[in-house]
Amino acid sequence: MDKKLFCQSGGCSAKLGAGLLRHVLEKLPAFDDKNLLVGYDGSDDGAVYKLTDDIAIVQTLDFFPPMVEDPYIFGQIAAANALSDVYAMGGEVKTALNIVCFPENQDLNILGTIMQGGSDKVREAGGVLAGGHSIADKDIKYGLSVTGIIHPDKILANNTPQDGDVLVLTKPLGVGIVTTANRVKQASEEAVQKAISSMTTLNKYAMEKLKKYRIHACTDVTGFGLSGHLLEMTGDKYQAEIHASKLPVIKEAIDYADEFLTTGGGQKNRNYAGDKILFNDVPFALEEIIFDPQTSGGILAAVHHDDAEAVSREFPIIGVIRERKDSEIKIIVNR
């Protein structure tokens, strides 16, 4: 277990920028199949395909380079992150396939340990690991392709909030900054432990609690940061007002952001949000937290405002959704 992984820029901060991706995807013709309930045109977390009136499959895949040194923990995080998309759609995990890139000349025990971490998380999710595919590559990458099921009427889209909804977030922000600070040996052991415990936690548990309430829109916060996922959620019609002081944050991440230990991914997210986000007197470090790419981040849900009080006992309410009127600004962040 003392084998160390070589970390470059791992986790979801290795994701392509949202703007870049959109540019490419827009050029591909959309598939026309009435059973494809959710495709990539809505930039949702996973694809949903209806099989019968009662059952649809949710498919997703996610893999990335290591963002922590311990291979077992990396395997758990990569798996929790991949499984998360099924939960974010409101689904239930059934099967998973390993996706592996591994250098041929490296110790295969490391790979075994990574896959053990992944396997343990699939088991915890109640799913079955059913196979996989591996490629010899110069850098390590690992993840899962996951298939889940869902009732076609109970899909939780990421871009269908309603006026007056309250926004909840189920995990603290800042894991990208903490792992980045750790990469340059400037993170405390305590901060790293907080980030790891957050990243290895399945969103299954948060969804079990959230499903008691009227969820109008739901996604998991990953590489595009809170800002990017809020932009997807608000779409053309809505505006999110965020209370920065209510954001759950790994507190050390604020210190590291003030030391500029932030990722390139975070800057890409800042560029992508551009003038669609407005900060009212928000400290610099909290801006960085809002743009920070999250690996295996929490669930961001827009919940009916009548459920606000009840849901606030379980998760912090970080803001509200409003109809957008004559303004290009989609996210307002107040101090």
């Binding site: 980045t180 340059v184 500029f260 932030t262 990722t263 390139g264 800057q267 560029n271 610099f284």
Partner: protein, 203 residues
């Protein structure tokens, strides 16, 4: 001046290296950081803005950028005067290009012509294209018959770039009826475009 080579380093390492160099200086001075991507430039500029340093980022060539950080009294004044231009979030990325020659750089003419052709091609591949390209003096030979850059310039024009060539110059060289791309312009427009430009790029 201390030069920090952070080429090939991913964020936040260029920022960490810059901070170390600044700390080592123990006072005022200038630190130049070399990086290989624009995101690193933006992260360095962001750090400079928070710390009140003056930051000047420049592209040396594809995949090579330099950010010059000025620390100290001098920087405070400049930052106050130029506050808007130092905010990375409000950087106006617009620019125009001015081409006043048919060769690039001084030296061998054949090489110079080849370089200028390459320059125009590379310009047409930028993520952010110039608003206009102004050609004057021997630059007029680039937009007229016999130029090897016509196709690239037509591509640029098709992507919304305004191609303007000095009419007086074409007259002088006797090539007025040979214009292949864009339109003819006058000195008033040439001056106005440059006065109003956020940045001017020249080969």
């Amino acid at each position: 001046m201390i030069t920090v080579n952070a080429m090939g380093q991913q964020c936040p390492i260029p920022v960490v290296m810059a901070k170390e160099a600044i700390n080592k200086m123990k006072g005022d001075g200038v630190v130049k950081v070399l990086v290989d991507n624009e995101i690193a430039v933006q992260n360095l500029e962001k750090m400079a803005k928070q710390k009140g340093y003056e930051a000047k980022g420049e592209k040396i060539k594809d995949g090579e950028f330099a950010v010059t950080l000025t620390i100290g009294e001098v920087s405070a004044e400049i930052v106050n005067n130029e506050e808007i231009s130092c905010q990375p979030d409000t950087i106006d990325k617009s620019y125009i290009a001015v081409i006043n020659t048919d060769t690039m750089g001084t030296g061998d003419e054949k090489l110079g012509k080849q370089l200028l052709k390459g320059f125009i091609f590379a310009l047409s591949k930028q993520d952010i294209l110039p608003a206009s390209i102004i050609f004057y003096n021997r630059g007029a030979f680039m937009t007229t018959e016999g130029s090897e850059s016509i196709e690239d310039l037509k591509n640029l024009e098709a992507m919304g770039v305004e191609i303007l060539t000095c009419g007086t110059c074409m007259d002088y060289y006797g090539i007025k009826d040979k214009l292949q791309v864009g339109t003819s312009t006058n000195m008033y427009v040439i001056v106005e475009k440059q006065v109003n430009a956020n940045r001017i790029v020249r080969p």
